[in-house]
């Protein structure tokens, strides 16, 4: 019964989304403005209906109702409850339902919370959100219905990929979804501005708020995903430039660019059209990511069900939503910008340059991600674009962004004098150069990474010092987020350029030396788990750490995974993986020493915390500059 109730709620939500999308156009055509007022109620009702639908699906998973097709295909009675629940969104249908639920939730909150926006802005925005909702819900209801029944019901489910049985993975997709769906509000606000022909009061502030919410969730989601890959995939990497990762990085980069563009729009005006196109691009990237992941056109380490027909549907959805907004932008975007002069050497100048670099970097990531498609379309054969391409193109674009982040916030808005600022610039650059010099012995990449990280940290310190009496909460949030990037960059650099690894087939009692540290394989024992059998090794460093990596054999489906053992300290990680044993009873042991890597996670936490600080800051005084 619950399942049918969920299905009904899904169809009801589609009807509410139609009302939400059509209220404004119908009111305009019928010349009855009052009709448009039903949109907020429809948005709220859609949010409630989708919450019911999602709850019904989670209920079916929690109770292992194998008469529901997606439960039978993706769950199993032997799974711990956490992963039964997480399995509700660990597959195509459920993840789309979650996507649509979050979209409805954002719409519902936006509808009920006025945020000082004029009624017209809110109604146009709700209409745009309604159109997106209709598209996504139609896709779920027509082509990806999670409430299909099976008859007869199977006795047992077909399990979940054991690789996905990890707390990090249970939670990172929903967080990423909150982020990528959250960009939709900024998108809808941008479409509303284009339809109305001007931004209107409060637009920049509201857009910034919703973009910041989305960006915080994207930051946490991406970091958790990277942490999952690091802990679970068992080869010490945490970022693979995989299409699925890239499709989360694209909205993150464009949301970051949008936040900085909005800072200028909110305070001074100018570059309105730039902010609008960034908002459109941000959500277009989210939709594109959904297409790339869900259609299976790109092969990826993230094994999701692929279905070409669904691919056509999502592509059409993406084309209609992104294409519609971009046509609107081409026709109306030129009218939005007021000409506001600012000098190149100013906070606004640095910020604008930074947004351009960020979006160019996003463009390069997009190109690298879809290049395999292009090559195939042109019959250049099947190929994949890997880390070397992205490292060689994206990192050189992001390096000047970090340098800008170090010095830009020190500049005054509007116009600054080189005479005033050069001593500070020299000091900040000197810190960076000193760090680069000290780390040059680990190579050019390490020098660049540590140099930029130190420079950015110095720039943050300089802002804190210069504004020690006047620092607003919002500025503090900016500094904390930037500092987070500096810390994260140090972690990335240390964890990759200073890392050492060793691999050996060891008998029990055998030793392996990595980065001057000696590790001994003390023992290997068999340990039964809830739905797997583990071989657990104990690897001991004399006077140091003890690591217990496991090789697990899951029963349903039959799959072997390796559970890395990671011991973290502020100075770095020690990471061990155990593999197969050979005929003579020796075990393949792989060890990594990764200095500073935990700083990456600390940096992500700082970035999200900085975002949260800025989000909760009161920012009233800027609104009066709006027309």
């Amino acid at each position: 019964m619950t399942v049918e109730a969920g299905h009904f709620a899904l169809l009801l939500a589609l009807a509410f989304a139609l009302v939400q999308a059509l209220a404004l156009p119908v009111a305009r055509l019928a010349a009855r403005p009052g009709l448009a007022g039903v949109a907020p109620a429809a948005a709220a009702a859609q949010a409630v209906a989708m919450a019911v639908a999602m709850a019904a699906l989670v209920h079916a998973f929690a109770g292992s109702d194998f008469s529901v097709r997606v439960v039978a295909e993706n769950s199993h009675t032997a799974k711990p409850m956490l992963y039964k629940v997480a399995a509700a969104w660990g597959h195509h249908e459920g993840s789309l339902l979650l996507w649509a639920t979050l979209l409805a939730a954002f719409g519902g909150v936006f509808a009920l919370w006025r945020q000082g926006l004029p009624a017209a802005t809110r109604l146009y925005t709700l209409a745009a959100l309604g159109v997106v909702g209709v598209g996504v819900l139609a896709f779920v209801a027509l082509a990806s219905n999670p409430f299909d029944r099976l008859s007869p019901a199977p006795i047992e489910g077909r399990g979940l990929n054991p690789l996905l049985q990890d707390p990090g993975l249970a939670f990172h997709p929903p967080l990423l979804y909150v982020g990528s769906v959250g960009v939709s509000v900024a998108f809808a606000l941008a479409v509303a501005a284009l339809l109305r022909g001007n931004l209107g009061p409060g637009w920049a502030r509201a857009t910034r708020f919703w973009t910041l919410v989305a960006w915080i969730f994207l930051t946490v989601g991406i970091a958790l995903g990277a942490a999952w890959a690091y802990a679970e995939l068992g080869w010490g990497g945490w970022w693979f430039w995989d299409p699925v990762e890239n499709s989360a990085l694209l909205p993150w980069l464009s949301a970051a660019a949008l936040l900085h563009a909005l800072g200028g729009v909110e305070r001074r005006g100018g570059a309105e059209a730039w902010a609008v196109i960034l908002a459109i691009l941000g959500f277009s990237f989210s939709l594109l990511g959904m297409f790339l992941v869900r259609s299976g056109v790109l092969t990826s380490v993230h094994a999701f069900a692929a279905d070409p027909l669904r691919g056509v549907f999502i592509l059409a959805l993406f084309a209609a939503i992104a294409g519609g907004a971009l046509v609107l932008f081409a026709l109306r975007g030129g009218r939005l910008s007021r000409h506001v002069a600012f000098a190149p050497l100013s906070r606004d100048g640095a910020r604008l340059l930074g947004t351009v670099l960020l979006i160019v970097a996003a463009g390069v990531v997009l190109f690298g991600t879809v290049y395999p498609l292009l090559a195939e379309a042109l019959n250049l054969g099947r190929l994949s674009v890997g880390a070397p391409f992205f490292d060689a193109t994206v990192l050189p674009l992001l390096a000047p962004v970090v340098a800008l982040m170090a010095v830009g916030p020190l500049l005054r808005p509007g116009r600054d004098a080189a005479r005033r600022i050069w001593p500070t610039f020299v000091a900040v650059a000197a810190v960076g150069l000193a760090a680069a010099g000290l780390s040059a012995r680990w190579g050019g990449w390490a020098a660049a990474g540590f140099g930029l990280a130190a420079m950015l940290a110095a720039g943050c310190a300089a802002v804190l010092w210069a504004e020690r009496r006047t620092l607003s909460r919002r500025r503090l949030g900016m500094v904390v987020a930037h500092l987070g990037l500096a810390v994260g960059l140090a972690g990335i650099t240390g964890g990759s350029r200073l890392a050492a690894e060793g691999i050996a087939a060891l008998p029990e009692g055998g030793a392996l030396s990595v980065a001057g540290r000696d590790f001994v394989l003390a023992s290997v024992i068999e340990v039964p788990g809830p739905n797997y059998l583990a071989r657990r090794a104990e690897i001991v460093e004399a006077g140091g750490v003890v690591l217990r990596p496991e090789a697990r054999l899951y029963e349903t489906p039959r799959q072997a995974t390796s559970e890395a053992a990671i011991v973290s300290s502020p100075w770095g990680d020690t990471y061990a993986v155990i593999g197969e044993s050979d005929a003579s009873g020796r075990w393949v042991v792989r060890m990594f020493v990764k200095p500073l890597l935990p700083w990456l996670w600390a940096g992500a936490v700082l970035m999200a915390a900085g975002g949260a600080l800025a989000l909760t800051a009161r920012t009233a005084p800027s609104a009066r500059r709006q027309p």
């Binding site: 059209a273 056109v297 592509l315 932008f329 081409a330 379309a377 054999l553």
Partner: protein
């Protein structure tokens, strides 16, 4: 149209290019990947026999079509599938691989339900199962007379699947 107005159309142009590329890719769906083992010789496994001494060796299955069924006493779905094998044993040679199972329990399970298998290999630590790429129990393979795997099926074999898809592979030459 001024250069400034042209710039506003650029994002749309980029989108259209992207759509064209994605459209081309979608219009050429690949054939679904069959199991990489189908068409290949059966992996060379050798398992102790459930009945006592001797081995169930892949090499000994050559010369006639054989159905290999991976099952276990802990597998509920295998019990559901079992009557199909009891009936099929009249007209085909079926060998079992008892996967990750205690031989005592396997014997009791077969004694209770009937034994359709010509021979049963004991694969407690998945030696053969890993080579065969077994993803779960039950799983069924059809080997041709020359030792190639010609069919693989994961899940419960119904009478329908037996009649339509497996039995036709066994007829003909043998």
């Amino acid at each position: 149209m001024t250069a400034r107005r042209m710039i506003l159309w650029l994002p749309l142009a980029a989108l259209l290019l992207l759509l064209a590329v994605a459209g081309v890719r979608l219009s050429r769906p690949e054939a679904p990947l069959p199991s990489p083992l189908v068409g290949k010789p059966v992996p060379d496994f050798a398992l102790p026999l459930l009945g006592g001494d001797g081995v169930l060796a892949a090499a000994a299955l050559r010369g006639r079509p054989v159905v290999v069924n991976v099952f276990a006493s802990w597998c509920v779905a295998c019990a559901a599938e079992h009557p199909v094998w009891l009936a099929a044993a009249q007209e085909a040679e079926i060998v079992g691989i008892a996967w990750m199972d205690d031989p005592e329990k396997t014997r009791a399970w077969l004694a209770e339900r009937g034994d359709p298998y010509r021979a049963v290999g004991v694969d407690r630590d998945s030696r053969a199962a890993l080579d065969l790429g077994v993803t779960g129990a039950p799983e069924t393979y059809v080997l041709a007379a020359d030792g190639r795997i010609v069919f693989k099926f994961a899940g419960v074999v119904t009478p329908e699947i037996w009649r339509r898809r497996i039995r036709p592979l066994l007829g003909g030459g043998s």
